[in-house]
């Protein structure tokens, strides 16, 4: 019996070796008299789900029964294709043979698929290649993720579109679609809508420069089940917001907008307050997440009127004036991140935000200046609702009331937990 146990547990040999040893001894019985080959498929399935793919592949070599289990549809519902080239990535790629196997045997089992590609055009090509072969799939989820440079954008547009529309046309049940930084265009969105309008719940398409406001409006008009949408500001229009607030439409849960400046001095259109109001009436709990990547002087059209932003991120330097307007016009604000401001203290602006943004629970400040007293005041006013307080050490300016060593006790007191500013190595 001991020899058998050794054979079973020796993982240093390949599975076939252990298999041979097992055969030499009593067929398939372990010390409890239980035959491994009789393990029900459902239990095998359960166990296999916990194994990394490679280990599972080894297990599948043990015997026919386990090999069958390896190929059960349930194990092939989700797959993430990792497409990397050694010249452009440090990470390994999904083996081409495995990809062939999946397409041959399991393409009709696939339901949740994502592609992770590196910055090489070859990887993006490979992704399109696989996409074009997914004719038997009814995908529920599709994600095209560039892990470095957006290599999908370097493909010939038509090539990409034809591969993508294969999935749109064949799946007919797409629920989640993530196609940021791709050359998707209006006609392909029409195809998406024509085939998946009943099922589409989530669409993420930030930085898709070939889409126009009309294109996205088509999606909003037809896909009444849309709950989550991510796009760039240039696609946002009053019409779109109204379409998303129409009676036929479900409550929107999450709208993410990237406001990105291509060149300094770019002009941005305004959205009417009435459109935001309509959104809010229709979906009172929706999250409006806005990422701003603008130059300081491009904020003209923004924050002039009340806007229902809940999560606000300033990726570049933003002026005191704009932050003052944020305090005035964003009553629903929950999270605020300011990457940089400048060398004039934001005392007043912060206090105003504490006063008027009564839902604020998370704030992050980098490369700004706030006097210690004002900061303590801010924290006192927000109190325990501030669950995330991420302030770079350099932001806090000691004054006559507090120095850096004292401030963390004061702040901790008002927060109800121990708090320190964020530190960066000083070497």
């Amino acid at each position: 019996m001991k020899k058998y146990e050794d054979a079973c547990s020796s993982s240093s040999e390949g599975p076939t070796e252990s298999c041979k040893k097992v055969r030499k001894l009593q067929p398939n019985l372990c010390e409890f008299g239980f035959d491994w080959a009789l393990l029900p498929q459902e239990i095998l399935l359960n166990i296999f789900q916990f194994l990394p793919l490679l280990d599972r592949a080894y297990a599948s070599q043990v015997c026919r029964g386990w090999n069958q289990a390896f190929h059960m549809p349930e194990l092939w519902r989700c797959f993430e294709f990792e497409l990397n080239q050694p010249a452009s990535s440090y990470l390994k790629a999904t083996h081409p043979d495995l990809i062939k196997q999946i397409i041959k045997r399991h393409s009709n089992h696939l339901q949740y698929v994502s592609f992770k590609v590196d910055s090489s055009t070859e990887s993006a090509e490979a992704a399109c290649d696989i996409l074009s072969q997914l004719v038997n799939c009814s995908l529920k989820t599709l994600g095209l993720i560039s892990t470095a440079r957006p290599s999908f954008m370097e493909l010939p547009k038509s090539h990409f579109i034809s591969a993508l529309t294969v999935v749109f046309v064949n799946s007919k049940s797409l629920s989640s679609l993530k196609i940021d930084d791709t050359p998707v265009d209006d006609p392909s969105l029409k195809v998406l809508v024509a085939n998946n309008s009943d099922t589409l719940r989530m669409l993420k398409m930030s930085s898709c420069p070939h889409v126009s406001p009309a294109g996205i409006l088509c999606v909003a008009d037809q896909c009444h089940g849309l709950r989550e949408l991510a796009l760039n500001y240039h696609l946002l229009s009053d019409e779109l917001l109204l379409a998303l607030s129409s009676e036929k439409h479900v409550h929107l849960e999450h709208l993410r907008i990237d406001v990105v400046s291509e060149n300094p001095g770019q002009h941005f259109h305004t959205i009417r307050k009435s459109s935001w109001d309509a959104m809010l009436r229709h979906s009172p709990k929706f999250n409006l997440v806005m990422y701003f990547f603008l130059y300081e002087d491009e904020f003209g059209p923004f924050f002039r009127e009340e806007v229902p932003i809940t999560h606000l991120y300033f990726g570049r330097s933003v002026s005191k004036d704009v932050l003052g307007r944020v305090g005035l016009h964003c009553p629903r604000l929950v999270e605020l991140v300011v990457c940089a401001n400048g060398l004039r203290p934001l005392d007043e602006e912060l206090i105003r935000i504490a006063k008027r943004c009564t839902q604020l629970s998370a704030i992050g400040l980098g490369e700004c200046e706030v006097s210690c007293s004002a900061f303590v005041e801010f924290v006192k006013m927000c109190g325990r609702r501030l669950s995330q307080l991420s302030i770079m050490e350099e932001v806090l300016i000691p004054d006559h009331k507090y120095n850096l060593d004292e401030i963390h006790w004061e702040v901790s007191k008002h927060l109800g937990r121990v708090w320190f500013p964020d530190m960066m190595p000083t070497w």
């Binding site: 452009s88 490369e367 991420s390």
Partner: protein, 569 residues
């Protein structure tokens, strides 16, 4: 029995606070201090001319100091494992001493030498003096694990026993009867080599901005403390344009090579604080620079893969881009962003840049703009930066690229804005990039935006005399924020749902570990808070940011929220 002792200098290039040397001298009849120029040692494979020069100056200084004690330094070329058996024989050695080296490769090398020593009947004396504490004790206090976060580290430090006082300086009195046999041909055999002898081209090499050596280190220490006393302010000084320039009171390279004892610095700072503030308990922040150094040494000491991403249990696996061309532009100061290029030029010319300048260029290379691996940046710093040693360099690069320890990646240094705020007049740029000298302050940080007339007037046309910017910063930072968000969302998936995922065990376990440690910290020790979770919530305040995560919410038959993500290997 004649006691012949060898003291082996590696770091710790000083005669003050050198307990292993002091111990070695006690009872010995002869002393020989050696430095072994090991061309194959891990650290020295990628060392630029500035660092070699600094080292040689340190050795010259040591030699000069030893001469005053009727001794000399013996510089020997070769690998320690080859050199020592020969020396033990030739010099009839009875004792070998050296300062403890906490780095993994150092420990390995020293273990091999200890074995050789015991085979030759040589006693080995090792003492801790490169760090404030015995790092193993800190790790022991943390349950046998290196602390992963700085906050945790600070908490441990506050529970440690006091730092040991510096050992007495080696003087003639300490030496007493111990002598050094010096042969007539000592200079031919054992002299400190010159840069030329090592094969470097020295024509046109400017004088060192940071002269090496213990003498210089101690002078600087005095100046440093004088300045602090005069200002009577121990707060961190506000950053301004002047801070960017090399300071005559800067100490980091001297700490790295051991010309200055960190314990001496520690005690002198403490004394000064107590005197000026009439206060007996200095805050931990007073020792910021020293503690960060200590922290990185502690985290690295048991991790031979600390300087790599792959196979490193404390490093987040990030899909960095491989791009040698872009890397070269960054390393050589040709990015087209004057702020970045000036910093990299100062680094190459002088061997030191301000820590915020380091943050700026590290962020630009990794998570800010180029999305290139921190390992590449680390190698460039290793070559050029005087105070970069293995642990501190790797640790800092992981930190700045958000690969470990520090998850606040929302803050990205702008290669234009940050520079402009620090040095509004642009003098720093003009000093290190003379080609841009004639640009007005308005445009010197983003000269590509200057009208053609301004460029022509400045006799520097962008694209011809100075490169165009190599990336569109806004676009790059937008993309990279997305990338980072994706990665951290996936990591937190594992913790949030607490399920087993089909991922390589290492990544899961370690990202879990960092998060769990943060959680643990908040429960156990009183002076830490929950790091790493802060702005995270911002980035997944909506469901379904990752399509594949969504999939797990749509149930598969018979399984509730079971992790179904499969990855290839």
């Amino acid at each position: 029995m004649v006691g012949n002792t060898i003291h082996w200098f590696r770091k710790g290039l000083r005669l003050h606070d050198n307990p292993s040397l002091k111990e070695s001298i006690r009872g010995a009849d002869t002393l020989r201090c050696v430095y072994i120029l090991d061309p194959w040692f891990a650290g020295s494979s990628n060392v630029g001319i500035s660092r070699w020069r600094f080292l040689l100056q340190c050795l010259e200084d040591l030699d000069a100091s030893l001469r005053k004690l009727n001794s000399r330094l013996f510089v020997i070329r070769g690998q320690p494992t080859d050199v020592f058996p020969r020396l033990f024989q030739e010099w009839q050695t009875s004792q070998l001493s050296y300062e403890y080296d906490s780095e993994p490769f150092g420990k390995e090398r020293d273990a091999a030498i200890q074995k050789l020593a015991s085979e030759a009947g040589v006693e080995v004396t090792v003492k801790v003096s490169h760090t404030l504490y015995d790092l193993d004790k800190i790790i022991e206090l943390n349950g046998g694990q290196s602390p992963l976060t700085y906050k945790r580290f600070q908490a441990l430090i506050s529970h440690m026993d006091a730092v040991e006082s510096p050992a007495e300086t080696i003087t003639a009195e300490v030496m007493r009867k111990c002598a050094t046999p010096i042969s007539d041909d000592h200079d031919d055999m054992f002299a400190v080599p010159s840069l030329e002898e090592l094969g470097f081209e020295t024509e046109g090499l400017a004088t060192a901005v940071w002269p090496g050596g213990e003498t210089e280190a101690l002078t600087r220490l005095e100046r440093h403390l004088e300045r602090k006393a005069w200002v009577a302010n121990f707060e961190r000084p506000r950053m301004n344009a002047n801070s960017l320039l090399a300071s005559p009171t800067g100490l980091s390279p001297y700490l790295r090579f051991g010309c200055l004892s960190c314990r001496l610095f520690y005690f002198k700072l403490t004394d000064l604080y107590r005197k000026v503030k009439k206060n007996s308990s200095p805050p931990l922040s007073l020792y910021g620079q020293l503690l960060w150094r200590e922290f990185f040494y502690t985290t690295a000491t048991n991790n031979p893969r600390f300087d790599k991403m792959e196979g490193n249990p404390v490093c987040v696996q990030i899909p960095w881009d491989r791009n040698p061309e872009a890397l070269a532009k960054w390393a050589e100061g040709r990015t087209g962003f004057p702020w970045i290029d000036a910093i990299m030029t100062q680094l190459r010319q002088e061997g030191w840049i301000h820590h915020l300048a380091r943050h700026a260029v590290a962020c630009f290379l990794t998570r800010g703009d180029l999305w290139i691996s921190w390992e590449e940046g680390m190698k460039v710093f290793e070559e050029l930066l005087l105070d970069a040693d293995w642990s501190v360099n790797a640790g800092s690069w992981m930190w700045l690229s958000c690969s470990s320890f520090f998850q606040q990646f929302f803050h990205c240094y702008c290669p234009v804005g940050f520079g402009r705020r620090t040095d509004p007049n642009g003098d720093y740029i003009r000093r290190y990039l003379p080609i841009l000298k004639a640009f007005p302050a308005k445009y010197i940080f983003d000269p590509w935006n200057a009208p053609e007339s301004v460029q022509k007037a400045a006799k520097c046309v962008i694209g011809m005399h100075y490169p165009k910017p190599m990336v569109h910063h806004t676009e790059a930072s937008r993309l990279n924020i997305q990338r980072m968000t994706q990665i951290y969302q996936q990591l937190s998936c594992y913790r949030g749902l607490g399920e087993h995922r089909a991922q390589p065990a290492e990544t899961t376990a370690n990202s879990l570990k960092i998060r769990l440690e943060s959680l643990e910290e908040s429960k156990q020790t009183p002076i830490t808070n929950l790091i790493g979770n802060n702005i995270m919530c911002f980035f997944y305040s909506g469901r379904g940011h990752a399509a594949v995560k969504r999939s797990s919410e749509d149930l598969t038959p018979g399984g509730s929220n079971k992790a179904q993500r499969q990855t290839s290997n």
